[in-house]
């Protein structure tokens, strides 16, 4: 059974703009957001995942995106070091939760920006790490040293896909689905070299956050609006569960951003 960390959207809203999706004039509708988040939580539980909750904090609207809290390996929690000051307040709350739950917390130097599972995803034994908009490539080297794994760094080049988990989603069979246009040519080659079979997400579905999915063995929870991706994954034997995520996409996140794997693999 996978364990997932979520944060209720009690204080969620568009209060600042730190990615191209966010516009303060286009706030999320709280009731709809709550319903969408509950829909996700219910679906994940229905798929036999155990849900842990971290308490939301006023003034930290993005805490709902727990994927950015850090990266969990066994009982070790590598804490994020947020690039934007708007999100830095989240770190202490996540840290407290992990300490209270018996994790060893590892903090990277504050100048070494690292935004957790948002920019670091295991595909098999290889940790794929995104850099440029949020995480610093130098943090990847530290992750590789801490975790003793191969960390493949890929540069993100399209600001709409500012975190790796907005354009790349590993599958349990060693493959992945991804939007290649979010990476430079070296990143694309590195992903092709180290991943098994890849499914390309079309731009329109990538913009619906098709790659921002929660994978629970053969079940995949994806945002609505990605019928071709759902079909392609179905062809590989995966069951897709499409959920409305419109209110979170307003902040540049969807299913995966709202979820942190405990542990990452």
């Amino acid at each position: 059974m996978r364990v997932l960390l979520l944060c209720p959207p009690d204080h969620y809203g568009i209060e600042y703009e730190i990615n191209p999706w966010m516009h303060r004039g286009r706030d999320a509708m709280p009731e709809v957001a709550r319903a969408q988040w509950k829909g996700l939580r219910d679906k994940l539980e229905e798929l036999d995942a155990r849900i842990e909750l971290v308490a939301p904090q006023p003034g930290l609207p993005d805490m709902v995106f727990t994927a950015n809290a850090g990266l969990v390996a066994g009982q070790r929690f590598i804490r994020s070091s947020f690039r934007y000051k708007e999100r830095r307040g989240e770190a202490a709350h996540f840290q407290r939760w992990f300490e209270e739950h018996g994790y060893e917390v590892i903090a990277l130097p504050p100048e070494l920006f690292f935004e957790g599972e948002g920019d670091a995803l295991f595909c098999g034994d290889v940790l794929f790490c995104g850099y440029r908009f949020r995480s610093e490539i130098r943090s990847h080297r530290r992750l590789a040293e801490i975790l003793g794994c191969l960390a493949v760094s890929v540069e993100l080049v399209d600001e709409r896909f500012y975190h790796l988990d907005t354009c790349f989603c590993p599958l349990p069979d060693g493959g992945a689905f991804w939007f290649p246009g979010a990476f430079d040519e070296y990143g694309q080659r590195a992903i092709r070299d180290h991943c098994g079979s890849l499914i390309e997400v079309r731009l329109d579905e990538a913009l619906c956050f098709g790659s921002n999915a929660v994978v629970l063995d053969r079940d995949i929870v994806v945002p609505e609006g990605c019928p071709r991706l759902v079909e392609a994954l179905g062809g590989r034997g995966y069951r897709c569960h499409a959920l409305p995520m419109t209110e979170f996409i307003k902040a540049g996140g969807a299913c995966k951003c709202l979820t942190l794997y405990l542990p990452a693999k």
Binding site: R138, R141, A144, L150, V152, Y186, A190, D193
Partner: protein
């Protein structure tokens, strides 16, 4: 050339970050040299590398390094250049850095500052406020001047022959031999001189009296007339014998055209010197019409910058001759900015003296009948000079021939003459 050293580590091969960085350097007009690379043995081992990155301007390098940092490159910070005050006028502090004739930089804060001029056997005076580094000779040192000491924070960019091997300076090593196919070399040299002139570079001629004795003066005059000489460094003798010939037709009492001795010809050079002293100098003598021909007259007429440095055996000397060697050296150094080609002909001491002042990037050719002169020049540090063992007269005759031929070709290439309407 501006240089930075970067370090890179991580899974830079699997991530293709190393090839990306190298491609980025080249595509932005930089260059690289991998100084060290340690490739991990296990899949999870990190790879580490040190790379020297170079580029033509500091702005380009700043931009490039900023981009490379995004991909994880870390700049290896050089320690700043260490400075110590000069203890007295004309005295360097102990352990002062001694320059070569190669392009040299000193590290001041975050910047590499080029030492100017690139001149051997100097110390480096650094003005941190003006961000200026100057190669200074003993005589230029003033008490308290801040001088670079030790070797930290100092970089030398080795001069390399270009790889495209376009000209005589590129394909020839400076081996000395009288067996070389001179004509082809002289033709190439003529092309090099023309290219230098067209590119706005200055051509320096260092000549000894052999130019006059051997009857090569008229060829040098032709070069001056055609604008292929911008600066002339010489001593008292070249000028004295050139003027002797201009006034009396002899050089050291020998009629240059016939090769026969003139009666009481040994007096001629003394009379020539006396005439110049009486006229108030060579320039005055030209201006008043006393001196109507010869190399020196052409130099004055065509605005060639002349420095005549004296020596202990000089007769006279001529009024223009600088007898204080320190002052003479200063005068020569002051004129070297912009020199791209140097012709060192028929004088050992002046060739070595000027060779010592030239940057390694100046294309230099040493022509002498004595192979030892050419060898000596190279052995004393002017390693970049090409040597040609030959008599000056046939050399200059052929060179001016090619230069004249070349300018005719150029004017033909320019197209048909325009017909006035």
């Amino acid at each position: 050339m501006f240089v930075e050293e970067i370090e890179l580590s991580g899974h830079i091969l699997d991530s293709l970050i190393l090839p990306k960085i190298l491609d980025e350097i080249l595509s932005r007009g930089g260059n690289f040299r991998i100084l060290e690379i340690q490739v991990g043995k296990q899949r999870t081992d990190l790879t580490r590398t040190r790379i020297e990155v170079s580029g033509p301007t500091p702005e380009m390098m700043d931009d490039l390094i900023r981009r490379l940092r995004q991909h994880g490159a870390e700049v290896v910070r050089e320690s700043a250049v260490e400075l110590a005050p000069a203890p007295a006028d004309g005295v360097f502090p102990p352990d002062f850095y001694v320059t070569t004739n190669q392009q040299t930089y000193v590290r001041l804060g975050e910047k590499w500052i080029e030492v100017r001029p690139a001149s051997m056997d100097c110390g480096i005076a650094v003005d941190p406020d003006q961000e200026r580094a100057t190669a200074v000779k003993f005589c230029e040192v003033r008490e308290g001047m801040r001088i670079a000491v030790g070797h930290g924070g100092i970089r030398v960019v080795p001069w390399q022959r270009p790889m495209d091997r376009r000209g005589v300076f590129d394909f020839m090593a400076s081996n000395v031999s009288s067996e070389k196919p001179k004509s082809a070399i002289i033709r190439e040299l003529a092309q090099e001189i023309r290219r230098a002139k067209e590119a706005g570079g200055k051509i320096l001629v260092v000549a000894g009296p052999a130019v006059v004795h051997t009857g090569a003066g008229e060829h040098l005059e032709k070069m001056i007339e055609q604008g292929y000489v911008h600066i002339l460094f010489s001593g008292n003798a070249l000028a004295a014998h050139d003027i002797e010939q201009a006034l009396y037709g002899t050089s050291l009492g020998v009629y240059v055209r016939e090769g026969s001795l003139a009666e009481n010809g040994h007096e001629n050079h003394m009379r020539a010197i006396n005439a110049m002293r009486a006229a108030g100098g060579i320039r005055r003598a030209v201006e008043c019409g006393l001196l109507r021909r010869g190399v020196m007259q052409k130099c004055v007429r065509h605005g060639v910058d002349i420095v005549l440095a004296g020596s202990i055996r000089d007769d006279g000397p001529l009024p223009e001759v600088i007898t204080d060697v320190v002052e003479a050296q200063k005068a020569m150094r002051a004129r070297l900015e912009g020199v791209t080609v140097a012709l060192l002909m028929g004088t050992m001491l002046h060739s070595i003296a000027v060779g010592n002042l030239l940057s390694a990037s100046v294309k230099s050719i040493c022509v002498d009948i004595n192979p030892a002169v050419v060898t000596k020049l190279a052995d004393r540090g002017t390693f970049q000079a090409l040597g040609l063992v030959t008599d000056i007269e046939p050399f200059l005759r052929e060179l001016t021939g090619f230069l004249t031929e070349g300018s005719k070709e150029t004017s033909t290439d320019a197209g048909p003459p325009t017909v006035p309407a």
